[in-house]
């Protein structure tokens, strides 16, 4: 729970993600949403890449033909389409998948309420 709150606070602090996701965006034009998306994307991307080491699950290019030998890890690869029989399977890689090799999140100092994702601001 604590680390999930840290992750939300991180994306809010760096990329205003909580602000973006909680706002009703239907009334706005695409150009305005697009402009905001740049802010959110830039900040959240920086936060993600500096705290998580992400690698593709499969090293092949997407849309390349792949062969899965019997005994592949079903948690790593999801089979779709005409799924039947036993392996080896021949198919096309539709998504390379993502693996978080490492994730280092900020930590709360003892006594800090992690539920405050972003403090209110009052200018004096």
């Amino acid at each position: 729970m604590e680390s999930a709150l840290q992750l939300l606070a991180l994306f809010q602090r760096e990329g205003r993600l909580v602000d973006f996701l909680t706002q009703e965006i239907a009334p706005f034009a695409d150009a305005e949403i697009g402009a905001t998306a740049r802010v959110v994307h830039e900040g959240c991307r920086k936060a993600l890449l500096s705290h998580a080491t992400l690698v593709p699950v499969r090293s092949e290019e997407e849309d390349a033909a792949v062969t899965l030998n019997a005994g592949f890890d079903p948690a790593e690869v999801k089979l779709t389409g005409n799924v039947k029989g036993a392996g080896p399977y021949r198919g096309v890689l539709r998504h390379r998948g993502w693996r978080a090799k490492e994730l280092k999140l900020p930590a709360a100092v003892a006594g800090h309420d992690a539920a405050i994702l972003c403090p209110a601001e009052v200018e004096l």
Partner: protein
């Protein structure tokens, strides 16, 4: 300074770049001949009550207001001041409670550098501290974060205070500023400190990166110009390769003034260009908070434009400050033409060797502040250094051209 042999080859050698805007640290094990220096991530407050490890420690110090309570760290629950990312962020929110550019104060001969003068213009509830103490606090933080990391990761204790520490200082630092840096290190508990000039460190790094190739690149008589354009300062030094009893030796032959002009000034200049465009397009003037965000956005846009020759413009978006993000922001763009004009013509114009920076007499008021460069043209400052040091090569017995 302790005897090196007393370490018995154990422990670490640690390099600290105590910069004007950022501080960084790298280490290598002493007992491993092949060890490569590794950048050390520095635990620091990045937001209220939130600790994160970053490779850079912004060189900012923030004094908590009474109502804020303590700025607790895992190793000190009662601390009333913060250094690093949170301090920098608070600096934008509450500038009078924040110290920035302490290193520039440390080498400012016009002020009492041991006097409690920072932050300038601080409210009365702050007990001001000296430029030396600010450097001490940064080094103390590095030491605490280092010790805490070793303990957290289950390593044998090796307090930073007892490691072989090298701190880099600008070649332009006068004897006083060097002494004060050593004093700050001592106060922070660093017992075994060597000061190394930054351009020398840069040259060693270059030699290291070249492998054995550097011997081909560098011959006796060569002079290397090291140009260090930092966040807040610029330094020029010339280092000559000379022969000493058959061995190649690198000797610093010239050093320019410590110029208070750097990348931050360039980003701010770009921000003012975009601000003008926003206002000309009928937008309201930007407030201080928006200017801060704009400067940050311009830095990112500049880096993209300068690293991708195909890009002609990069959109700039300032999000609304409140929680309603979409719809309230300011949109503009930074173009290649603007970056080229502001940076090349403003900061790096092509100038004759005889060019010199404009020096403006400083009024009584500004003398209280930092002596910022009044001419933004880095190339003019460089021309001045080269002109002034034309005789330097003769002094180390190298062939030289008298006409320069």
């Amino acid at each position: 300074m302790t005897d090196r042999d007393s370490h018995g080859g154990q422990g670490f050698v640690v390099g600290i770049d105590l910069g004007t805007t950022h501080t960084a640290m790298a280490c290598a094990r002493r007992d491993d001949e092949k060890a490569r220096p590794e950048v050390v991530a520095i635990s620091q407050l990045v937001a209220a009550g939130t600790l994160d490890a970053r490779t850079l420690l912004p060189s900012f110090l923030y004094f908590a207001a009474e109502a804020e309570g303590a700025l607790a760290l895992p190793w000190d629950a009662e601390r009333r001041l913060a250094v690093g990312e949170f301090a920098r962020a608070r600096g934008a929110d509450a500038p009078l409670r924040t110290v920035a550019s302490a290193k520039s104060w440390l080498c400012h001969p016009g002020v009492d550098r041991r006097g409690a003068i920072l932050p300038q213009g601080a409210p009365e509830d702050i007990e001001k501290i000296s430029p030396v103490e600010v450097s001490w606090r940064y080094l103390e933080h590095l030491s605490e974060a280092w010790d805490a990391r070793l303990a957290r990761e289950g390593h044998a204790p090796a307090p930073l205070g007892q490691q072989e520490v090298v701190i880099t200082v600008p070649a332009s630092f006068d004897a006083g500023a060097r002494e004060l840096t050593a004093e700050a290190a001592m106060a922070a508990g660093l017992e075994n400190v060597t000061l190394l000039e930054e351009p020398q460190a840069a040259l060693y790094a270059w030699i290291d990166a070249m492998g054995d190739g550097w011997r081909k690149e560098l011959r006796v008589g060569d002079v290397i110009l090291v140009i260090d354009i930092g966040g807040g300062t610029t330094d020029f030094s010339a280092i000559a390769a000379v022969e000493n009893e058959g061995a190649l030796e690198l000797v610093r032959v010239a050093v320019g003034d410590h110029i208070l002009l750097g990348g931050d000034n360039m980003d701010l200049a770009l921000a003012h260009v975009v601000r003008q465009k926003v206002m000309q397009a009928g937008g309201a003037d930007l407030d201080r908070w928006q200017m801060g965000a704009l400067t940050h956005a311009c830095r990112g846009a500049k880096e993209r434009l300068l690293s991708d020759a195909q890009l002609e413009a990069v959109p700039i978006v300032l999000a609304a400050r409140g929680s309603k993000l979409v719809g309230g922001g300011v949109r503009s763009e930074l173009t290649r033409e603007e970056v080229t004009r502001v940076l090349v013509e403003g900061f790096f114009p092509v100038v004759p060797a005889s060019a010199r920076p404009v020096v403006r007499a400083r009024g009584a008021l500004t003398q209280l502040g930092l002596p910022y460069a009044s001419d933004a043209a880095v190339t003019k400052h460089l021309a001045a250094v080269l002109g002034r040091q034309a005789g330097a090569l003769a002094r180390v017995g190298l062939p030289h051209d008298e006409s320069v």
